[in-house]
């Protein structure tokens, strides 16, 4: 058994732990924004670690797996930002006990939605 197999498998296990924690966060958190915090970003690190581990396990595919990891790293913040803005625009409320909502405060005197980009 080669050493890089073991190292890759351990790295993959660590990444899978983060993937699992992200999914657990999405079940436990009380509102959409907190779910997004736990869900879509714990999975980013989980993806990077898992794919790095798998690339180590199978080095001849490393370049292609790297492209997939880069793709996830670039698109993930974009999609979660788009979802968060859409949800806030659609009026999904923050959970009870949230401290402040600066965006809603700044929007209300202007009378509803401002211009979108």
């Amino acid at each position: 058994m080669a050493a890089h197999h073991l190292a890759g498998a351990l790295l993959t296990l660590l990444g899978a732990l983060f993937l699992f924690l992200g999914a657990l966060g999405i079940v436990r958190m009380p509102d959409l924004y907190n779910r997004m915090q736990a869900g879509t970003k714990a999975t980013t690190l989980g993806n990077i670690l898992t794919l790095a581990g798998l690339a180590l396990y199978h080095p001849s595919w490393a370049l292609k797996i790297g492209v997939i990891a880069l793709f996830v790293l670039v698109t993930n913040p974009l999609s979660s930002h788009a979802l968060a803005r859409a949800a806030h625009g659609a009026g999904v409320p923050l959970t009870e006990g949230s401290v402040s909502d600066a965006l809603a405060e700044d929007l209300s005197p202007e009378g509803g939605e401002a211009v979108e980009s």
């Binding site: 993959t12 296990l13 899978a16 959409l32 798998l54 979802l83 859409a86 999904v92």
Partner: protein, 86 residues
């Protein structure tokens, strides 16, 4: 040894898929379901790459890439729909 750990990791990620689908089915509002779908995809991409490594078939890498691409487009268009309607 190493492939047992690898299988364990994929099983752990598979439990993550189940948790995310629970939120997808239960989610109180449509944007919550969209978030669950996003997470579901993000867990499925490494699972597909893992399937490629375990079976030794490189075609699953392309499947993972195209799946990620389509899901990104899907989530962004869902977000546009929530924001402005069709």
């Amino acid at each position: 040894m190493a492939d047992v750990i690898l299988e364990l990791a994929l099983v752990l990620a598979g439990i993550g898929v189940l948790l995310a689908s629970y939120r997808l089915l239960k989610g109180p509002c449509p944007p919550s379901r969209a978030v669950a779908l996003d997470v579901l995809t993000l867990i499925t991409i490494p699972l597909l790459v893992g399937a490629a490594v375990m079976t030794g078939r490189a075609i699953y890498l392309d499947v993972a890439l195209v799946y990620g691409l389509l899901s990104f487009l899907g989530v962004v268009s869902l977000a546009r729909y929530f924001e402005k309607g069709v």
